[in-house]
Amino acid sequence: MAGDGTVQLIDEKGKRVDGRDLDELRPLSIKIGVLKNADGSAEIRMGKNIIVAAVYGPRELHPKHRALPDRALIQCFYRMATFSVNDRKSPAPSRREKEISMILADSLSSVVLTEKYPRTAIDVYMQVLQADGGTRCASLIAASVALADAGVPMRGIVSSVAAGLINDKVALDLYDLEDQKGSGDMPLAYAPTLDEISLLQLDGIFTIDQFEESLDLAVKGAKEIFEIQKNALKQKYTDIRADVKEVPKAEAKEVPKAEAKEVPKAEAKEEPKA
């Protein structure tokens, strides 16, 4: 947050620089199953963000002494391509990338039924190809559906979006310019069917009221994104059914069918809650 609040980010009609309303998400699209080798994968475009997520696992963990005796270890690797930002990023992982990887792993761990796969690893790779603000949230959205695509059983689907402050007003889903010139950003991860916040960060200067308003707005935004995630997953499964030759990955894997199906079922049942 380098913003000093002096840049005009909202016009007289209450529209943001990119034309959005304060509580409006950026255009968001999700493609599932984009990478053949991965057990599950997704590409997300959110504003100008382009991010690819791939899931491998449950699989053997190396080195073995890191394995957990009672559950799977979820490992996240969030990485930005050197050319994804205005200045070239160094290819070595930064402290920022390491911190984000850690909190994304914590967030996803909160919904995955890790106890079903003791001593294994579930590896989630997120590669930011173009960054436009909110990459950790977009990565999490993609990773959630990639996990579902991989047939990993989950209690719910994590959705994610940030709220923040531009010209002292609370706004949803800041993009790059707003992130830099605004006065606060609060990324959040939320599983609508579970009413659970599994990631929360903030920097900037928020009053108590602004914080609470941001929290409510981000939760609302996450619910909207959750619908898009569900539709993308449904679309994928519809496509599969239409194409009888192609075996869905969830079945091809050693994951028993009952578990693989658990994801859509759980969502369907709990939807009224959202």
Binding site: A2, L199, L202, I208
Partner: protein
């Protein structure tokens, strides 16, 4: 932190059993912090320094000011950079080697509270725009980890900054910066403190000790300035919160921040 520490089920049950009765293993209230001590001017070779103890948790923070170049995109502002070392001196669960994820998170979360509170006007660290600025290195060394490093670290950082003295400088006609003998204090505009709660079962407790941390599901850290602004948040660990729970913890954390800031100001008044 210490990823290879496994607490026994018995200890865990005991901690939870006490919490059900609104008690903690060290007889504190759920929102009661341990004894705080902040000793500044500990290391004479640093521009500023502080040793913080929070119960048995102990860490040292040093501030060094080095002349350097500003970042090209902020030519008129100085630089703050924070690092933390979780030395194996401090815990049987820390390991020798490059900074662990836990050390990175500790440094970055403390950085956020310090930076976002604007406690130091970085433009005042600029000596010659585009050419020469002060770089403040704020380095932590954990000496004993008995829980709640986050809040101790922020106390230490602000105490070390508030008692730091930076050399005066003179810019010659040729633009060469001369560092003078005389030193002047850094001006501190805000006094952020960090308040961390841990969720154990359904209870949220403050200033957790090491074992409480280990049995907890989630961690939630708020940074507050003295005007009750929230300047930083970090949720940690694999547990979750409802939105309402977060709002409730926020208000409790704000209260705790008053106590911590009182301790901070008390220590600084002695400087």
């Amino acid at each position: 932190m210490g990823d290879n520490y496994v607490i026994s089920e018995i200890e865990k049950d005991h901690i939870l059993f006490l919490l059900e009765q609104n008690k903690r293993s060290d007889n504190r209230e759920l929102n009661q912090i341990r004894e705080v001590n902040i000793e500044t001017h500990y290391v004479g070779k640093a521009e500023g320094s502080a040793v913080v103890t929070l119960g048995d948790t102990k860490l040292i923070v040093g501030v060094k000011a080095i002349l350097g170049s500003p970042f090209p995109d902020t030519p008129n502002t100085g630089v703050i950079t924070i690092s933390a070392e979780l030395s194996p001196l401090a815990s049987p669960y820390f390991e020798i080697g490059p900074p662990s994820n836990a050390a990175i998170e500790l440094a970055r979360v403390t950085d956020r509270a310090i930076r976002e509170s604007h406690c130091i006007d970085l433009s005042k660290l600029c000596i010659v725009p585009e050419k020469s600025v002060w770089i403040l290195f704020i380095d932590f060394y954990i000496l004993n980890d008995a829980g709640n490093l986050f809040d101790a670290a922020t106390l230490g950082a602000i105490a070390a900054l508030a008692t730091a003295k930076i050399p005066k400088t003179k810019v010659g006609e040729d633009g060469v910066v001369e560092v003078l003998e005389e030193k002047e204090p850094l001006k501190i505009d805000h006094y952020p403190v960090s308040v961390t709660s841990y969720k154990v079962g359904k209870f949220n407790i403050f200033d957790a000790n090491f074992k409480e941390e280990r049995v907890s599901n989630s961690r939630l850290t708020f940074g507050f300035d003295e005007d009750d602004h929230i300047v930083s948040v970090q949720k940690g660990r694999q547990g979750v919160y409802t939105p309402e729970e977060i709002k409730k913890i926020l208000r409790e954390s704000l209260l705790v921040s008053k106590t911590l800031r009182k301790e901070l100001m008390k220590a600084l008044s002695k400087k």
